[in-house]
């Protein structure tokens, strides 16, 4: 019983502390930068793999392997390369979440319904027109699925990166309060992770996915 209420109180109090605001801002900024990069690289990479067979044969396996490595496992390498810096955290997000976007975009592009392609071809669509005006839009539901998962993967990778690099952020705060044995604050922070992660997923991605699925006639 003391749990939820104390934690909530603790949260409200924490918001007034400049250190906390600073940490939260830092985490969100890194996540935003990382996620934008994940989206851009993931979609472009997935489209390239989906479109160019040769590239797919050479790099397709690499994308799948990277996707199979948990984000946290990239942290040591990130620190080795970039030191315990913000860049290392962003690198971790990138490696932890780009694979899923590539894999989804790639499969979305390869799995366009045959009749959609046939209809487009009989209407004279070919080459780059066919790709941009038919294949890419047809792949959007899959791409959105990938982006939603990438948010969840990236958010986890962010925390892993921050815990291990001690860059000012929520992850580092978590370390600090754990060392000071401040259980209330520790739980408050964890609840905050869950809250932000789930809110963005529920308020943005779930809605986006739902509206795309409806429009594309999949729901």
């Amino acid at each position: 019983m003391p749990g939820a209420w104390t934690i909530a109180q603790r949260l409200v109090e924490d918001f007034h502390q400049t250190a906390f605001v600073h940490a939260l801002g830092g985490s969100l900024r890194r996540m935003a930068i990382g996620y934008v990069l994940v989206t851009a690289i993931g979609i472009v990479g997935g489209m390239a793999l989906g479109r160019f067979k040769l590239l797919d044969e050479v790099l397709g396996g690499v994308a799948v392997s990277i996707h199979a490595i948990p984000g946290a496992a990239w942290v040591p390498l990130a620190i080795l390369w970039f030191g315990a810096t913000e860049r290392a955290v962003i690198f971790t997000i990138l490696l932890g979440a780009t694979g899923i976007v590539i894999v989804h975009t790639d499969s979305g592009i390869k799995e366009v319904a045959p009749n959609i392609l046939r209809a487009a071809k009989t209407m004279g669509a070919k080459g780059i027109n066919l790709f941009w005006h038919v294949i890419v839009p047809a792949a959007i539901p899959r791409i959105v699925d990938g982006l939603r998962l990438a948010w969840a993967f990236g958010w986890r990778a962010l925390m892993a990166g921050e815990l291990l690099t001690s860059v000012a952020g929520l992850g580092q705060m978590l370390n600090t309060v754990a060392k000071a044995r401040q259980l209330d604050q520790l739980l408050a922070l964890m609840l905050l992770f869950a809250f932000i992660g789930a809110s963005v997923d529920g308020l943005i991605f779930k809605r986006l996915e739902q509206s795309v699925r409806t429009r594309w006639g999949l729901a």
Partner: protein, 305 residues
């Protein structure tokens, strides 16, 4: 001097020396001893065998046959979406090697682009042709009006009923102004009323535009109601089993005794094919219940196989 003849001049001479009737009689679509098989369980299954067709310009023909006999395969080959194993398709004497904007397919499932509005779908073909946006929009709106969907021009496909989607697919095909409409069971999934209405609309469009129509169906009443000729395709392997001429003017009455007797004749022949398919698929002999079908020509039974 004779060597300096341009292509155009040569054609003019050829035209002038032809008998007067020959341009008219030259068929629009010719299918020449066409064969098609598919890989199946490590072997190959023959789907189409020795298909020969000759379709006049402006003719409305129906391809009728049981499920799986290769109707869609044939449509895809005529469209240039699929290549035959042997034989060829000629359009105005030119062999088909790839899809062409003179032949547009209307698919059974409409296959509209879900990310585009009705207007966007109908505009798609002209857009691919590089037609200016103002011009293609005007044309698209006109066609949307023709299929009675003006109110839905800005709706997305998921907001439309099956019959409405099919009408969009027809408008989208007409926007290409193709010489040939290839229609693969376009009304197969619709209820009888909607189907009847769309059939009448299609006939009006056909009569107004004079397009050559190849219409696939497995519905005997639909085939005889629409086609000037009906080609019956046999089951596995698909061959042209019969060609029936339907020498009745449009609009045809469903109760015309000549139409009914033709339907009876086709149903009898088709029954044999269905028996073959059943036996093929179940491994058991199948006895078609001739009496029942023959006694109830008006019932849906057997009319929509």
């Amino acid at each position: 001097m004779t060597q300096a003849l341009t292509e155009q001049e040569r054609r003019k001479i050829a035209e002038a020396t032809k008998p007067a009737s020959s341009t008219e009689a030259e068929p629009h679509v010719v299918v020449e001893s066409l064969y098609k098989s598919f890989a199946h369980n490590g072997g190959r299954v023959e789907v189409l065998q020795e298909i020969n067709l000759s379709i006049r310009q402006g003719e409305f023909v129906c391809l009728l046959g049981p499920s799986g006999c290769g109707k869609s395969t044939l449509i895809n080959i005529i469209a240039g979406l699929d290549a035959p194993d042997r034989g060829r398709v000629l359009i105005h004497g030119q062999p088909v090697t790839r899809p062409g904007v003179d032949r547009v397919v209307v698919f059974q499932d409409a296959s509209l682009f879900p990310w585009l509005t009705v207007l966007g779908n109908v505009e798609f073909g002209p857009k691919m042709q590089g037609i200016a946006s103002g011009e293609r929009r005007a044309k698209a709106l006109e066609l949307i009006k023709l299929v009675h969907l003006s109110k839905f021009a800005n709706a997305y496909p998921y907001q439309l009923s099956g019959g409405m989607k099919q009408r969009v697919a027809i408008a989208r095909a007409l926007a290409m102004d193709p010489e040939i409409l290839l229609m693969d069971e376009p009304f197969g999934a619709l209820d009888a009323q909607t189907r009847g209405m769309l059939q009448r609309e299609l006939l009006e469009i056909w009569q107004a535009t004079g397009k050559t129509v190849v219409f696939v169906t497995h519905n005997v009443r639909e085939a005889t109601g629409l086609g000037e000729r009906v080609f019956e395709i046999s089951a596995r392997p698909g061959r042209i089993k019969h060609a029936y001429a339907v020498d009745l003017p449009q609009p045809r009455s469903n109760s015309d005794p000549r139409l009914l007797s033709l339907q009876q004749k086709i149903l009898g022949s088709l029954g044999e094919e269905i028996a073959k398919v059943m036996q093929d698929e179940t491994g058991l002999p199948y006895e078609p219940q001739e009496g029942r079908v023959a006694a109830a020509p008006d019932r849906a039974l057997g009319m929509h196989i």
